[in-house]
């Protein structure tokens, strides 16, 4: 298993007040994403556990893109990966952020 953690500073907090949400399932080509509103409003942390080693640079790019688009300030995001492709990861992250905004 490879563990990766990325910390970002955001321009603003993610809107909404949902304390936590989960989306996705740990299955082949899929992943689960747990989002918790527990950090300072300008901070975002994404922690990933993946059985597919050696893709740190791809994860870093996907997470950076998500943070730039969603501005998920205040969120600690934990990922259990089942070998999802980058586009699936990106969609799940955006889906998770949307659930937190409800």
């Amino acid at each position: 298993m490879e563990s990766l953690t990325f910390r970002h500073t955001t321009k603003k907090p993610l809107p909404g007040s949902v304390p936590n949400a989960i989306t996705g399932v740990v299955a082949s080509g899929n992943l689960e994403i747990l989002l918790e509103r527990v950090l300072p409003p300008d901070a975002c942390e994404v922690a990933i556990e993946t059985p597919i080693a050696g893709y740190g640079a791809v994860w870093e790019a996907v997470v950076a893109d998500f943070v730039a688009r969603a501005q998920p300030g205040g969120l600690r995001i934990s990922i259990n990966d089942g070998g999802a492709r980058p586009d699936t990861v990106s969609l799940r992250l955006l889906q998770g952020a949307r659930l937190m905004e409800a």
């Binding site: 298993m1 949902v18 936590n20 949400a21 989960i22 989306t23 399932v25 740990v26 299955a27 899929n30 689960e32 747990l34 918790e36 556990e49 993946t50 059985p51 934990s78 259990n80 990966d81 089942g82 889906q95 659930l99 937190m100 409800a102």
Partner: protein, 309 residues
């Protein structure tokens, strides 16, 4: 609550087969009533899977909690068939056993188990097997306390292995066409007995031997539902209302039912032979029947409904 904010949709439109465990629970319960025990934020994950370099799930593949069903309190457990085939590991099993034991104090109107499992998780087999035994014991205690335990089966993993054994101890079972109930799965039978005995790639054979319609016709399941969350909800409410008492008379009736079933169908070579002997006019037409036509067929079969279990 993480569970309450999982993506969910309209119970009439949501396919049970396609839905995740979380979606099933949230849509099955009265709106907004589900409260999860040990939610994903608690991170009660498998201590064993990392040793095999396998990914874990925050809920270890089972969602447990309390909900309202038509205003009545029920306890609910839902297995996630897509995470490791919904298989029982140590934490997964402990959550189900804990929930059932809690029923003895909480005295809900029923305990619902949304099965979606291939059986025991091989990577933690001893703990998984123990969990199966403990679950069956807990179900016996819950039923003895007068609380019905209802199994709902319609997920992609079916209900196999130890899950099939547990299902056999429930008060009542509801199944959809996509649901399968058995102990040894198709691949297991083929591996042990050969493809001549059971060809696991023959989907029609698998479904007419283990599928929902066959189980309903021979009385292995007590309700047959369309593949929607609302159909399972309706079936669950109906079955809670007509769960058998758990006493010596019920157990003796069940023993007699199973003995006569074996005597009557033991020499059948195929499920269609069983259906013919049950009095189904055109057994070959059963797999293609829609829910309404199938319900009419079931209504004419004496063995489908019974007071046993």
């Amino acid at each position: 609550m993480a569970g309450a904010h999982a993506a969910s949709t309209d119970p009439d439109a949501l396919s049970w087969y396609e839905a995740t465990a979380r979606q099933r629970v949230v849509a099955l319960a009265d709106p907004g009533s589900f409260r999860e025990f040990l939610p994903p934020t608690e991170r009660r994950m498998s201590p064993h899977l990392p040793l095999f370099d396998l990914p874990r799930a925050f809920d270890d593949g089972i969602v447990v909690g309390r909900a309202k069903l038509d205003g009545k309190t029920v306890l609910v457990a839902a297995q996630e068939g897509r995470f490791m085939g919904g298989a029982f590991g140590e934490i997964h099993g402990a959550k189900l056993v804990g929930l059932l034991r809690a029923a003895l104090t909480l005295k809900p109107a029923a305990a619902l188990i949304l099965f979606d499992t291939g059986g025991v998780r091989l990577q933690e087999a001893n703990a998984g097997e123990t969990a199966i035994a403990e679950t069956m014991r807990a179900i016996v205690d819950v039923r003895a306390a007068g609380i019905p335990v209802i199994g709902l089966i319609g997920g992609r993993a079916g209900c196999y292995g130890g899950g099939g054994l547990i299902a056999g101890t429930c008060s009542r079972l509801a199944v959809s066409e996509g649901g399968r109930i058995s102990v040894s799965g198709p691949e297991v039978i083929e591996t042990n007995k050969g493809a001549e005995e059971f060809d696991s790639r023959d989907r029609a054979l698998v479904w007419r031997t283990m599928g929902g319609k066959h189980r309903r016709l021979i009385g292995g399941a007590d309700a047959f539902c369309a593949d929607s969350v609302s159909a399972f909800r309706e079936a669950a409410l109906d079955l809670i209302g007509r769960a058998p008492a758990f006493d010596l008379a019920t157990l003796e009736a069940e023993q007699a039912r199973l003995e006569s079933r074996l005597a009557r169908f033991g020499d059948c070579r195929d499920a269609t032979d069983v259906w013919a002997r049950l009095g189904v006019n055109d057994p070959d037409a059963v797999p293609a029947m829609d829910t309404r036509a199938f319900d009419e067929t079931v209504a004419r079969v004496r063995e489908a409904d019974h007071d046993a279990r």
